[in-house]
Subunit: 135 residues, 4 copies
Amino acid sequence: MVEHKTQLRVRFAETDQMGVVYYANYFVWFEVGRTNLLRDAGLPYRVMEENGVLLPVISANCTYIKSARYDDLLTIITRIHEKPRARVRLDYTVQNESGDKLAEGFTVHSFMRRNGRPVRPPEAFQAIMAPYFKD
Amino acid sequence: MVEHKTQLRVRFAETDQMGVVYYANYFVWFEVGRTNLLRDAGLPYRVMEENGVLLPVISANCTYIKSARYDDLLTIITRIHEKPRARVRLDYTVQNESGDKLAEGFTVHSFMRRNGRPVRPPEAFQAIMAPYFKD
Amino acid sequence: MVEHKTQLRVRFAETDQMGVVYYANYFVWFEVGRTNLLRDAGLPYRVMEENGVLLPVISANCTYIKSARYDDLLTIITRIHEKPRARVRLDYTVQNESGDKLAEGFTVHSFMRRNGRPVRPPEAFQAIMAPYFKD
Amino acid sequence: MVEHKTQLRVRFAETDQMGVVYYANYFVWFEVGRTNLLRDAGLPYRVMEENGVLLPVISANCTYIKSARYDDLLTIITRIHEKPRARVRLDYTVQNESGDKLAEGFTVHSFMRRNGRPVRPPEAFQAIMAPYFKD
């Protein structure tokens, strides 16, 4: 398993008139989590894109447990439980400073060329992931 | 079943550097779909909120099939398949002008007072929904 | 002068915890206004981009007069007062259904190639604009 | 003068199909800058709001010099040049890691009660600001 933690503060822009964070913004935080996981693993998504490999989202899911609020300091825990093959699934947990779980969700991605064609995971990506998973 | 169609145009703001719509924005369109369904059904969500009943999202899901692009004219089809009780589930389909299905998803909501307490669906809401469902 | 009106409804996503629309979102509406002005003038920005000419924003300004609220039906009035040359300035007024002015602002744009180089306004654009302005 | 620096990373969500950050998002960063300035000054905006004083935006301005890009590590420099009275003006500069200025802008705010009535700046706010300005 790969696990990564990233911290962020809730922005005023992310709230809505219910006084809590608008539900779609959790998916933005998931993206921050996976961007940081990849960068810290040594393969920034920015570089992957520059090399012509994109990671579009195939499906996305979030379950909302407790509301996140403006100025909360949150921890996004991003995990890869299964060895990535043609597809990668990332799981996310959003926690507040007290360790309460506010939300959890996942995204599934495929590897794709700029022209939209599917492509095998880049070797650099496979090499980085391999040590974390038994075959 | 309740069904509602709403049209919208993809905004430049909704795209990302992949050249297509950023995945979290589909959930914003889902919200446009359910807002319009409720308004056209005669019970605007705005009014429901003014009466102290909120409809927070409990879970959200989207499957991405084909990319939506800037300036596309989209149809959001919003459906309620099952009679709402303590919870309501809405299903969404996003289509382009050619009728291609770009994405589908759903959201589940509960009824809640401003203080966070669960509450029964407002009678006005139940009255509006009743004719569409057999018990 | 060129003038264009477009209508849009305030989305829940656009509000913040003050109970009104978050200030940055007015700039998104300005973009909707100019996209629709160009499309209705017969030169969609989408087509201009496909032809390799971009219209990046050089400066943006908004003055907020009255709050826009969720579900408000707004009119965005977009105007070009001066004949576009190397730069184009668009002015925007946001009105509610009662005709109250909620905000006004402007954006200034340059014409640019994909490589970042400045470029003259496309001839199609000049031809469309010419009848509206005396030299 | 009050000056505050805050760092943030450009999110994928913040880009658009030009391959750079969408112009409205700079105003979100300005808000992050002023939120952090107030928190570090000892008077979190969250607390000010809980005490019933809001800081709505009256006007906003941004000049775009160089594009911010996905995954860039940016510094937002937020300054208050003049002693806040009925209104406060904050100035912002956005820099990349090389120290290049990408954008600069400002926002002007008033102090307001929840009911929309103007109100004098809270004493705690005045006390915190006083040492930075000669009368």
